[in-house]
Amino acid sequence: MNYLGKDVQLKVVGTRPIRPDGVEKVNGRAAFGADVAVSGMIHAKVVRSPHAHARIKSIDTSKAEAVKGVSAVITGADLPDIPSEEAFVGEGPANFREMSHNVIARGKVLYDGHAVAAVAATSAAIAEEAARLVEVEYEVLPHVISVEEAMADGAPVLHDDMFTQGVDPKPTKASNVAKRVEFKLGDSNAAFSKADVIVERQYKTQPVHQAYIEPHACVVSYNPDGQAQIWCSSQGQFMVRAFCAKLLGMDIASIRVMPLEIGGGFGGKTLVYLEPLALALSKKSGRPVKMVMSREEVFRGSGPTSGGTINVKIGATKNGRIVAAECETILQAGAFPGSPVGPACMTAFACYDLTDVTAFGYDVVSNRPKVAAYRAPGAPISTFAVESAVDELAQNLGMDPGELRLINAAKDETKAAYGPTLKNIGFVETLEAAVASQHYTSDLGEAPKGKRRGRGIASGFWFNIGGESSGATYVNEDGTVTVVSGNPDIGGSRASMGMMAAEVLGIEVERVRTIVGDTASVGYSFLTGGSRVTFATGMAVTQSAEEVRDDLCRRAALIWEIDADAVEWRDGHAHPAGENAGKFDPLSLSDIAAKSGRTGGPIAAKSSINAQGAGPGYATHICDVEVDEETGHVAVLRYTAVQDVGKAIHPAYVEGQMQGGAVQGIGWALNEEYIYNKDGRLDNPGFLDYRVPVASDLPMIETVLIEVPNPRHPFGAKGVGEVPIVPPMAAVANAISNATGLRMPNLPMSPPHVRAALDAAKA
């Protein structure tokens, strides 16, 4: 059933209660990945490649093994050699053989930071000392960092068995181009003839790291009976279990994963890095093994998202109707195939109602860490280019950029270029709210001498997904309720799960406590990603709560000795209904719980579903900047995020997603980048020179929540976590353009780049 419509009075959903896991997080007691200790535990460190590309000639571990306190040393040879097998994992396709080779190198190292060995010892300090003594002999090979280098004729090839997929005829020569994808509607090439104005430009974005503050960490205990327990922070306990089973050749039932609190992920913890190594070391040493990455290892060894080169061409009539659009997106995948080039192409024009559009792209490997998902993977990259181009189009047409977007906006029944017909979307509503907002209509104010101010607007789209999810609702003896979610809680989902259950049961949210179950205590759930948890797992939890509610009515009927369908549930109580109305005093949930032993035993329900019908997310952001003409420094003065959220279950955490995503986008826009030296080594693997936004860089991030309910969710929820990172880069670029008249096609728009652009414009 659903709880939509004006006549439905929601008491819990839409309020802002304190999250159930809150107190433990403000008093320091919450246990994250590195906070766990197990009896007999030892510590391990990874030996990483200092080279961007090299053949491993030999690995001599004898000196490390001789160090007092060292229990085990492993290399790639200690993990099974598994066959090439494509699977859809995390937020995109992957290949387990490649995943295994990424976790620990075999034959060749493919990037600076690639793991080649791991050492376990009685202390982390001894493990680190011993790791320095592992002698790896390399034959250094020529390397490629950028996609341009990787695609050039005669470029060093990373994988000599990789032939570009998706092109006809199939290439006969191995290359660094893993595949080509294309999405097409109508005939864009012909349709450009109808355009009065055409804008065309190349854009470039840099790889950026998810930069969660908690480094990857795990404790793994492998027992002689072949069973293992894993405590770790990840975006999916079932994902860790499945990947470890694959990579170690174990049964799934032999691995139990205990999800710990996760200190941020943003897509970057949808993969395994340490867990398979810790498993192998635990097996070899016979001891539980703890592994924790340093910040440097996080930057060198775990996935950023792709950098890209995007060519955009858009044509419109002089009254602002876009008649043709094309976009080519070339994305860095890192050392193994699997960039989000598909989603980048699919999302590129998803904000607009177009008839003739082509989006195609290439997935290209180079000597960088393999990319991992990062919040709306791919979309921010193509959208930066397209939304910059739309802004340029508005400038050329002399139109307001918000107005131009409204003229072309996707709405219900728009056929998207990537396939589906869009339904129940709220994009137009975000645009209308943005254009009418106090922010958009306010005066920018006068800039101080030497500075210029400008305002930009940009929009974005993300699919949002549903998928396999499990939840359970247990009524306790005293009438309190325990909810179990199958998904790690990254941003407050325990609160929203408990709220939905409380709403269904008609009780105060404080009587519901939500926990995240381990892999043996709740049904399978696909990982926390794709903005799916409140939608899909929320649906599973809601269904389990509804089953409990129906059971509570049956129990009341038993107590009253009337028909179950003559009982209705209202305000946390069973009421006799129909002809029995008023005949019995209502029974509270606590009353029924206390008598459960006499009415059939414990009251509990579990729900495992494959949730369909996730509603897409749309957002429009407004950004004001001040550009220092002499230094090129860009300050964000004011920022507003407008988003269709379907229905905000817990509005404060929805706002938090919007604010956090917007600020990650601002970081991507202004300063974040990977800097490689000429040897292909990462030069800024730390928070000092990988510059994420700090508190003093930012204004308050204003939020406007638009609620166009998703009828496929009981409370109308849509995913909200990812789309907030899609518009910011273009919003900032468009604001800089408005301030200076300069189009900044390359990220980051850091002070040296902005100053150089200003100088070039003067010259």
Partner: protein
């Protein structure tokens, strides 16, 4: 296993003796040393914590000047009202070293002796004529701060020598100092360019004396020929000359924090902007 010694001497003599040992490193705030040890770049055999040595922490007014203990944390400088009133630029520089947390530990001596060309506290100290009191096996000597760093990560200090305190001279009449740096964010970055300036005014309000030093644009801090400012009130022509003079002394490198071209241009900008603040401060006295 790497296992250094740790000692916290309670007298200058003990400190000098301990620092005379091979592989000994002084510890004041530790905000550079501990990071370097963790990364393996620096592995001292003896860590000598100087903070328990009398006089190493604290600020004393001395006539119209000050003596500042070498290991005094930056936060303490910012809390000393008399020091802030007299030498706002020096305090600005010290207070820009790292975050609030780093301010709780980082010291002038550590910032100076770490010998990073981008050290924030050094340009303003040099502009104001601050001297470091160096102690060692051969006794005590006073050295202008700019003579301590000898290049990135290198100092002119001899074996067993360390900085005990800084002497901030009597404040010249009608003078003002300032420090500005350019960083990509608003906090938490290493200076791309830093500029420290002290200006003294003549009775008619024109510049009588100007000292301008730049950080992060050469292997050590460098002095800008600021003679173009003398006799002016920092009119546009004088400022243009200062900008050019600042760019002329730059000898930077291309690195992750800035390019040669960018650093050079911004050096001119920072010199001008800092001079303007120092000039205003001098005029307000």
């Amino acid at each position: 296993m790497y296992a250094p010694n740790f000692a916290a001497p309670q007298s200058i003599d003990d400190a000098v003796r301990m620092l005379g040992a091979d592989g000994a490193k002084p510890l004041s705030g530790g905000t550079d040393l501990i990071v370097q040890m963790r990364s393996g770049r620096n592995r001292p055999d003896h860590i000598v914590d100087l903070k328990k040595v009398p006089g190493l922490i604290g600020i004393k007014a001395e006539g119209a000047g000050f003596r500042v203990g070498a290991a005094t944390p930056g936060a303490e400088l910012g809390e000393d009202k008399a020091l802030v009133a007299a030498y706002p630029g020096i305090v600005e520089g010290a207070e820009l070293i790292g975050s609030t947390q780093v301010q709780g530990r980082a010291s002038l001596a550590g910032n100076l002796c770490n010998a990073s060309p981008a050290a924030d506290s050094v340009p303003a100290m040099a502009a104001c004529g601050v001297k470091a009191v160096v102690v060692g096996p051969n006794g005590e000597r006073e050295v202008p701060v700019q003579d301590i760093p000898a290049g990135p990560g290198k100092t002119s200090l001899g074996k067993g020598e360390f900085v005990k305190e800084f002497v901030l001279p009597a404040l010249p009449a009608n003078s003002g100092d300032a420090y500005l740096r350019f960083i990509p964010r608003t906090e938490m970055d290493i200076a791309v360019v830093g500029a420290g300036v002290q200006i003294q005014l003549a009775g008619d309000g024109t510049v009588a004396k100007a000292s301008v030093w730049l950080g992060a644009v050469a292997p050590t801090i460098v002095e800008v020929d600021a003679s173009c400012l003398i006799g002016t009130k920092l009119d546009d022509a004088a400022m243009a000359k200062l900008d050019a003079a600042a760019q002329a002394v730059c000898n930077p490198i291309d690195d992750k924090r800035g390019t040669i071209e960018y650093r050079t241009k911004v050096a001119g900008v920072m010199a001008r902007r800092t001079a303007e603040i120092a000039f205003k401060r001098a005029g307000a006295r």
